[in-house]
Amino acid sequence: MTAVNSAKDDVLVSVRGLKTYYSLRGSFGQRLVGREAGHVKAVDDVSFDLYRGEVLGLVGESGSGKTTLGRTLLGLVPATEGSVSFEGADITRMSERELRVLRRSMQIVFQDPHASLNPAMTIEQSVGHPLTIHRIARGRELRQRVAEALETVGLAPAEQFLEKYPSDLSGGQKQRAVIARAIILNPLLLVADEPVSMLDMSVRAKILELMLYLKHEFGFTYLYITHDLATAKFFCDRIAILYLGRIVEMGPSAAIYEDPKHPYTKALLKAIPEPDPLRSVPRDLPRGEVPDAARPPLGCSFHPRCSAAFEVCGWESRDLRDLLEIRWARMAAAEYEAERATIGDIAALDQPATSFRVAAGNGRPGSEVLALLETIRGEMPDEPFWKGVRALTAADGYAEVELFPPVVPRLLPLGRAHVECHLYDAEALREADARQAARL
């Protein structure tokens, strides 16, 4: 991989402490400070630099915040906190009018080629619209420039496409038109949000090739948003892996692919289906799915799914509930009923807490609950959850569970990359040792 010129003055976009929260009740984009219940933390304290001429990949699954991050960078979605500096100017503070002027320099290519073009406008009108909006060209000159843009993206001869409507084109052709529209003003930054995920395999390569060609020919800086690490590997110079609004690993492509550090990154890489018949479906993947961004797990957001989690990762009541659910899913109905009766209402476990009670069933003593928990621990000793338990005690009518408090993970440099994971945080490891010793 080519080394990216990382001279400080080559930074095109600088993101610091960016947070984009969606309020669940009220209107879109109120400026909120602090963490309150009832918000979706789509982007939760993200910082990075985007260098001129490079391709930075934002990789994540749904709920990772990558799409919101892309849009916040363009000012399409208001930031809640933090700053986004584009060529030195902080766009989070700009008015809609100022932003509109800036839009000439940064453009976006969307995911769905079938929905990104106005069905009521011809290709000429659509692709030429940026020129009209910013009053740069009209009439013959506009047509000329549109034709040039179309030829550049491979829609040639351009005359054949000018009068067409989006519904006359194929998916790949539409995406090319969208790209033509995005580049016609010669922007500095191109945000590509899953540009090929809705296209067939045989077409993806063509669009990726086009984007590479444009990069080499015109020097565009790309922000490539995707969930597909395979295409990202091909296209990106650096990659940032996002999980629930935070960057969990970031570094040069080579580092990420050759030597992934974060358990989530490793899982993503392992899960990619490979057309190799000697491979079978990977079995040792993290369980569960991306959690609800409105109620993220405590501590490290990935810990409920992580097989390597340990004392400091942020254990809470919901993890115990998950454990019980996994166990009960495997049991026969009769056994389950019997065990279920031991425990009372488990809805209380839905409220995230590090110190909580597990109520006993009707009239049962707390000791029975304790016994059950101990049995479970005996039968599932490898569950990381148990490392987070400081003490289990029985009381009258309930069992008291005390967990170690969460330690918030930090994004730290490691080799060529940055990782946000306790496994690589010396301080966290020390703390974990201490807790292990302190376990009752």
């Binding site: 839009r103 106005n118 406008m121 940026p130």
Partner: protein, 328 residues
């Protein structure tokens, strides 16, 4: 600039209003019951429009002529060669009144439709696109209007306007206009809200387009296709409302013009005496025009709504698929 026709792709139509042509394309493609409805509706509506346009030429008499050559027509004369549909209690020719009535009906309805659309659609667009307080206020007002039964509302407004504007075409038109504004507002607003979330609208924002431009170029054209079916069904309803107003005495004054509803009202007492032509013909006219407009409206709404469109059966036979591959 010449556009070479490519070999494998269909040639695009080079017409004045290519957008309009595309919008109307589904109409030509209609099949089955939809097609029947559509063409029947068009036929009937067109017939009435022609009658209205050529009223001075077709109508044997004026709408209030009650005499000819100094001689007063017979009252309540049964249909005859002189008076094809008979005369009514005021000795005026029923046929003529039907024909002139067509003009009245269509005049009032078209005027009020025009105003309803001109007010309702833009309001709907802005309320839908910008949302917020404007939207909430407008929705409140429109819903309040919507809650009233059309007829009742029309009567109230006609009644209120009777003092200011005087009864007649204008007050009837205004009453009907007001009653139907909420309809367009609602439909356009709801569609605007859903279009607003579409990627291509977001793309327009990303390009730096101003809200007005977005509304004009991106939202309007995609929303306006709802209007024609709505307008025709609206017209059908408006005819009924106008006739009802006339029936109740709040509509057109007899001196201003002929009106079918008024005529039906007058004919009620005739029915008891076995005189059928004074009521039947105006009544039939109302029914026919409303049916025509409704068929047109339903037909349009089915063609424009792709979900309701029916797929033609695979007419091509299953045989010959292999053979076909060999023939050039």
């Amino acid at each position: 600039m010449a556009v070479p026709v490519p070999s494998s792709v269909e040639p695009a139509q080079r017409t004045r209003l290519p957008g309009l042509r595309r919008a109307l394309a589904p109409i030509a493609d209609a099949r089955g019951t939809t097609r029947t409805m559509l063409w029947l509706g068009v036929g009937i509506t067109l017939a009435f429009i022609l009658i209205a346009l050529f009223a001075p030429l077709i109508a044997p008499y004026d709408f209030d002529t009650f005499q000819a050559n100094g001689e007063r027509f017979d009252q309540l004369e049964a249909p005859s060669t002189d008076h094809l549909m008979g005369t009514n209690v005021q000795s005026t020719d029923v046929l003529s009144r039907i024909i002139w009535g067509t003009q009245t009906e269509l005049k009032v309805v078209l005027v009020s439709l025009f105003f309803s659309i001109s007010i309702g659609v833009p309001l709907g667009l802005f309320a839908g696109y910008f949302g917020g307080k404007l939207d909430r206020a407008l929705v409140l007002v429109m819903d309040a209007l919507f809650v009233f039964p059309f007829l009742l509302l029309a009567i109230v407004i006609a009644f209120l306007l009777a003092d200011k504007v005087g009864q007649g075409i204008l007050s009837a038109a205004i009453a009907i206009t007001v009653v139907y504004i909420p309809l367009y507002f609602r439909v356009v607003r709801n569609h605007t809200i859903s279009i607003r979330e579409e990627p291509f609208v977001e793309a327009a924002r990303a390009l730096g387009a101003r809200p007005l431009t977005i509304i004009r170029k991106y939202v309007f054209f995609n929303v306006v296709q709802n209007v024609p079916p709505l307008a025709t069904l609206n017209a059908a309803d408006a005819i009924l409302t106008l006739a009802a107003l006339g029936f109740l005495g709040y509509g057109i004054q007899p001196t201003d013009g002929a009106e079918w509803g008024y005529d039906v009202n007058r004919a009620v007492s005739d029915a008891a005496s076995g005189i059928w032509w004074t009521g039947l013909f105006p009544g039939l006219a109302i029914v026919l025009l409303v049916v025509g407009l409704t068929l047109l409206g339903e037909g349009l709404s089915e063609t424009i709504n792709p979900v309701l469109r029916k797929r033609p059966k695979a007419e091509a036979d299953l045989s010959g698929s292999v053979a076909e591959a060999e023939t050039p």
